[in-house]
Symmetry: C2
Subunit: 309 residues, 2 copies
């Protein structure tokens, strides 16, 4: 099957979405999407086979969901609503068309509840299976929530899961396939997409998608904002499931919570006078200074995930 045949097959999978159709979808030189705000939010990520996913650990649909999710979460972390994805696939000859179709299904499924669609893409040959995703979003009249807006006196809060994907990765790395809860979390993150725009509406002063690890990503906020961030680990949720897995593997589960990436929780700062309601959980405060302090000390465990490895 050549380029055009494969593109046709994948386009058919994307077209099955019930999300609103773009003005111009796949099949032209470029797509045309609505951008009613008059600004467009845009982000891109690459996933490489064997580095960012393993085909023996994740199904094609898992990989599609994850590739979509990590980009859609970046859009949400700006306070925006995702509108569309563009997908570039670099495909070795041994990959089956059915695998690629399931990948496309995963992307479609992750976008659909958000009202977003895969609107365009490219397929090329390559020795290494690589998935390039670009997500676009709309701010609906609100200002973007950047990383540099945290101010002393703000509170620090998060929503979504922390440590689950890292625990799942640890389990898979030891050759196990269970507990299913953490393994599923590694395969298919569940970012709290709707809480991104909601946080913007609640007055969040800074926000990030937790992709590198809570401490590492808050460190980005601290540096960009020129502030210190003080975390109280006692206020972090440490679910029984993570404690159990930690005990079984002999790993302190708080390491996963503080340094595990890939769950795509959202972390944000809010004015101290108006802390956010549930499901947000306040875990610390913004102070003068520089960098993240955990329980009063510099954090010296592995700080997070370096994608460039």
């Amino acid at each position: 099957m050549g380029e055009f045949g494969l593109v046709e097959r994948l386009t058919a999978r994307f077209a099955a979405s019930t999300a609103p159709e773009p003005a111009v979808g796949p099949g032209d030189d470029a797509a045309v999407l609505a951008a009613p705000d008059g600004r467009v939010v845009a982000t891109t990520d690459l996933l490489v086979d064997g580095r960012h996913f393993r085909r023996d650990w994740s199904t094609a649909e898992d990989v599609g969901r994850k590739a979509a999710a990590q980009n859609l979460a970046d859009v949400a972390a700006m306070g925006a609503h995702p509108t569309g994805l563009l997908v570039g696939l670099a495909v070795p000859p041994d990959i089956q068309v059915a695998w690629l179709e399931a990948l496309a299904d995963g992307m479609r499924a992750e976008c659909e509840p958000l009202g977003a669609r895969v609107v365009g893409g490219d397929v090329v040959r390559c020795d290494t299976l690589t998935v390039a995703v670009t997500a676009l979003g709309d701010l609906r009249g609100r200002d973007p929530v950047r990383r540099d807006g945290a101010r002393p006196g703000d509170v620090v809060a998060y929503t979504g899961r922390l440590g689950w994907a890292a625990a799942g990765l640890a389990v898979l790395g030891r050759g196990f396939r269970s507990p299913v809860g953490v393994v599923a979390a590694h395969r298919r993150p569940e970012p709290p997409y709707a809480e991104g725009p909601r946080a913007a509406g609640l007055g969040a002063t800074a926000m990030v998608d937790v992709s590198d690890g809570l401490v590492a990503d808050l460190q980005h906020v601290a540096v960009a904002s020129g502030v210190g961030i003080e975390l109280d680990t006692a206020r972090l949720e440490l679910p029984a499931k993570l404690r159990d897995v930690g005990t079984a593997l002999g790993i302190d589960p708080m390491t996963w919570v503080l340094a595990g990436g890939e769950d795509h929780a959202l972390a944000a700062t809010f004015p101290g006078a108006s802390p956010p309601p549930e499901p947000w959980r306040v875990i610390g405060r913004v102070a003068r200074g520089r960098g993240v302090v955990v329980d009063g000390s510099a954090y010296d465990a592995p700080g997070g995930w370096d994608h460039f490895r």
Copy 2:
């Protein structure tokens, strides 16, 4: 150098642009660009080392310019003005930082005269050097020019170069580095960006970026529009330079003009009553029927470039 150090180095190269700054540039979860039209044009392409470029044939800056150009040309082919690029780089360990910086410089240089910028990206490790580019653009109130609007009675025209990049590739493939004109055309296409929006203003009924070859890309227009397209090769420009290279290599240079991709000329259809002015060149007409006919016959030379190989 880790992920964050490299990202910082590349971001500095992109930041040197004199093009207008976006609302939010590199360094946050996502970029935020102006989309004053209320719609956004978006397209993505992958370039793989050894398939879409060769590092012994092209400099890093050449590759950066070409990767940017082929995406920017897709935006122009919708009748839109490019506004920004997102760049994903999958980088093997043996690639020097200086090479990547020069790649970034090439992208910046290609965008800058158009008022566009590289606004975001991602860097990951991979065994195969791969460049993923997404281009965004603004329609400035005009409707996009799609592939499906050609109607019987329209004229077919093109602007930009045809066959030059293919001649350059043929020269390089034989081990030569000259004539420099065609080799440079292969390394750095010069799409007629401004003619895309201009054609939209002139009433173009359909338009494509010639990336697969003139006949192949007009075939896409014919199929999408449900029409026939009749080309007269006598009306195509066949420059002396291409004739000379053809003679030297024993290749009919018209093959390059009809089937060579990668120059990123624009081909468009216009109402027969209002053919486009120079630099557009009318080369045929739209008729009832289906598919492209060249000088009255089906075209049976290689139809174009299959990127999936």
